[in-house]
Symmetry: C2
Subunit: 475 residues, 2 copies
């Protein structure tokens, strides 16, 4: 399908139908992405502040067959938010669609626009004594529309689910510019096909999400956090099962970390307090949020004692204050920044069936050892089977020298994930980075169904072309 650049004529047409407040200069910030692998282009940047104007933009683009690049917080890690090739798109920023439309604390729901920043959503929920549990390191700049479009994960998935599990309803503009009014606030609604989950995770290729009804949760009455040293990932899994038997759904986070992560922090962020005198090979962060009448510190201590008896842990520290809890979490959340400062050769956002995790870590290291000498920082959301398995050059060497083996490293890790029935994109999505992986590893029948759906719903191929799918046949 051919698409056209957002040229002067198209810009003029938009100027005739949108308020002047909707236009933004084409600044570099709209065209960059955090990993610096691509630089996008845009014929024009528009930032409407109401869904009707979003619809107008898409309708115009549909008419002129101009590509639309929906733009949310710009924090995505797979290049889904930049269009480096082909005709220059209209970049449709949701930044001014940033209202909380309504909160319903009695119902545990909130209705928010796509441009609301995640930390603002946290704040709005807290102000009515509720919790919006989705949380990722980029929470200060990531916006709701992007979080839903990529089905974001983060640190609370174990307890509360991924972005899609937290969404009850959507308002969205479909590729022909029509508005779907689907902001239902219902826990149960079996009225036909699940269009909501189709748009969630479609990375802007099937339409633009403009607002959502989200589930809130009661705030746990008491929270508590511990770091516990485990001999290996297998013990960490057993510790998780033990913790689940102790406190049921009360586990909000269960994060695995490794010595490499601490070393990287010591090297690049020395201001980060180190929790252990001797850096352990493996340790976990356990976060509990319990209801009235339960004491998380007590529960963590009981867990620690029992785990000690069974040889699952050898050391541990339980946060004694909210400030210390924050220090533990900062440690976890600074690990990606430490990685960035060291500079990875290749980073992998993978998941495997829970039981396969220890075997995966061992075998992946063996296979990489056959390619060369690397440092590996493996950490992540153990309770979800989701690891960030990132590969770095040996100390003192630069990633540049390893550019030549990057593809080889990635292929080795991804092939292993696939052998183990895992996913090579657990929570970051496909974007542009993983299009070849999707084609290589995803079931061909599913891929064909995806292409059929894409070409039917977006017959002119204007929505974020090149992301997720390429070579989509004309309908």
């Amino acid at each position: 399908m051919t698409v056209n650049s957002a040229d002067e004529q198209f810009v003029e047409a938009l100027q005739n139908v949108l308020p002047s407040s909707a236009f933004r200069p084409v600044e570099p910030r709209y065209l960059e992405e955090p990993r610096g692998r691509w630089f996008g282009k845009a014929g024009i940047v528009v930032a409407p502040d109401r869904v009707e104007d979003v619809a107008t933009v898409v309708r115009c683009a549909f008419g002129a067959q101009v590509p639309v690049m929906p733009y949310s917080g710009g924090t995505g890690l797979v290049g889904g938010q930049v269009m480096p090739d082909g005709p220059a798109p209209v970049l449709l920023s949701l930044e001014r669609m940033n209202k909380i439309r309504a909160t319903y604390p009695d119902e545990n729901t909130i209705v928010a626009e796509a441009g609301v920043i995640l930390s603002d959503l946290h704040e709005a929920s807290r102000s009515v004594d509720r919790l919006f549990p989705l949380s990722i390191a980029a929470k200060g700049s990531a916006r709701l529309g992007g979080l839903l479009s990529t089905n974001a994960g983060g640190v609370n998935v174990l307890r509360y689910g991924n972005a899609r599990d937290l969404c009850l309803g959507l308002e969205a503009v479909l590729p022909d510019g029509q508005i779907w009014h689907g902001l239902k606030r219902l826990r149960k609604d079996n009225m036909g096909y699940d269009l909501r989950n189709l748009l969630i995770g479609a990375e802007g290729t099937l339409g633009v999400i403009t607002a959502a009804t989200l589930k809130l949760n009661p705030r746990p009455a008491h929270e508590g956090t511990a770091l516990m040293v485990v001999p290996d990932p297998a013990a960490a899994l057993k510790l998780l099962a033990m913790a689940q038997a102790h406190v049921g759904e009360g586990i909000s986070g269960f994060e695995l970390m490794a010595r490499t992560g601490l070393e990287f922090l010591a090297q690049t962020m020395p201001e980060q307090r180190q929790p252990f005198e001797v850096m352990p090979e493996w340790f976990v962060l356990i976060d509990l949020g319990l209801a009235q009448g339960l004491d998380p510190a007590q529960a963590l201590e009981k867990l620690f004692v029992q785990a000690m008896e069974q040889g699952l842990v050898s050391d541990g520290v339980i946060a004694q204050s909210e400030a210390q809890r924050q220090v533990f979490w900062d440690l976890r959340e600074n690990i990606p920044e430490g990685n960035k400062r060291i500079g990875s050769i290749s980073s992998h956002d993978i998941s495997v069936p829970m039981g396969a995790i220890p075997d995966f870590i061992l075998t992946a290291k063996q296979r990489l050892a056959e390619i060369g000498t690397f440092r590996i920082n493996c950490f992540g959301h153990l309770g979800d089977g989701n690891l960030h398995f990132n590969v770095f050059p040996p100390k003192g060497e630069s990633r540049e020298a390893y550019r030549g083996v990057r593809d080889h490293v990635q292929r080795a890790v991804h092939d292993l994930v696939h052998e183990m029935q895992g996913s090579v994109s657990a929570e970051h999505g496909i974007g542009r980075l993983k299009v070849p992986d999707l084609e290589r590893y995803e079931d061909p029948v599913k891929l064909q169904a995806m292409r059929t759906i894409k070409s039917a719903l977006d017959p002119k191929g204007i929505m974020n072309p090149g992301a997720v799918l390429r070579d989509v046949p004309a309908p």
Copy 2:
């Protein structure tokens, strides 16, 4: 689109490619449905025991343009499982695809075929000390494929979600007869569009689910159940919020019931023990499942005392044994049977935003009073905003006499649900019964997107034609 009957020639073609064990006589049980509103037809009944044979059936049907009626447990309440009009379909029963393929208790997952009966799935989960929480009254005959295809709800949705929330992966045969191998066991997987959720709830109109990977849960260490008398539904909602503050996610069920339900049971099932000396106007069943170290009876008592102080409850009884717990649940689960024996004029499976429930119940009764004199049995899953609002003739009169007002009654209830931003199919689906409701109440842009998807994925219109959508345009 024209489709052809499964005629002699088609049957012969199937006989050439399927083992003889796959053929079943066309017995009435395949053609009936529980509410007796339709009687289906079938040119042939086949019951393959492996996915390859299911695919063969669909491929043959695709080639010959013969409709396929996927048949699971046959317990659906909206006629999605019977095809009374048009060419006789091939009825594709999943009853022999009834194997548990694997259980992974350490991962909390199970892989089961579509023909597994729900109670067998419960048993298989229990045998590895896990819980598969989906539960409905028809659990002894409903099968997994139908439960997923209708996104079944039931009594544990408040805590564990609907069927779609319990499914991690699918194996399915798409309308062209290709097999999608998607039985992943991952909690996080962002590899492209969410085909899984598109098939779940599509009622067999987009393909045939043949197997699924399901989430299991740890079994709560301690369970407890109470019945509490509330002055009205508004108090019941406040009681729910209070219970959530007390025990967090520990509430497995929160069911509202009314005096009419008890009266119907007294009349039609006198063997059912009545829990109260004086039948209360409204009462709730609260079911708790708590982790180690917590005592549900104690928690319920504490809740009862505090609720009493605030005037939210006036009487209550806490189950003192597992047997008494079962009596309370039997009461709840026998209410649909009581309704059936009385014979409703019209029954409604609706949901509204939680906060609107008291107003809905009041206003619905007022509007019906304008139409005539009725008995109303309103009960259901209060914690999900999902009520079964069933309308009966006055005592001593038969439903037959009221056939003339049935549509009027239904329209009044459904219009009100729609005004309150609710759903006229909360958990039963659309089937054939609610096609006009879907067309009347669902957002037109969503409806159009559904038609586009249907005609793209099922271009010959062979999958359960007439269910969910009618008048689907040719692609």
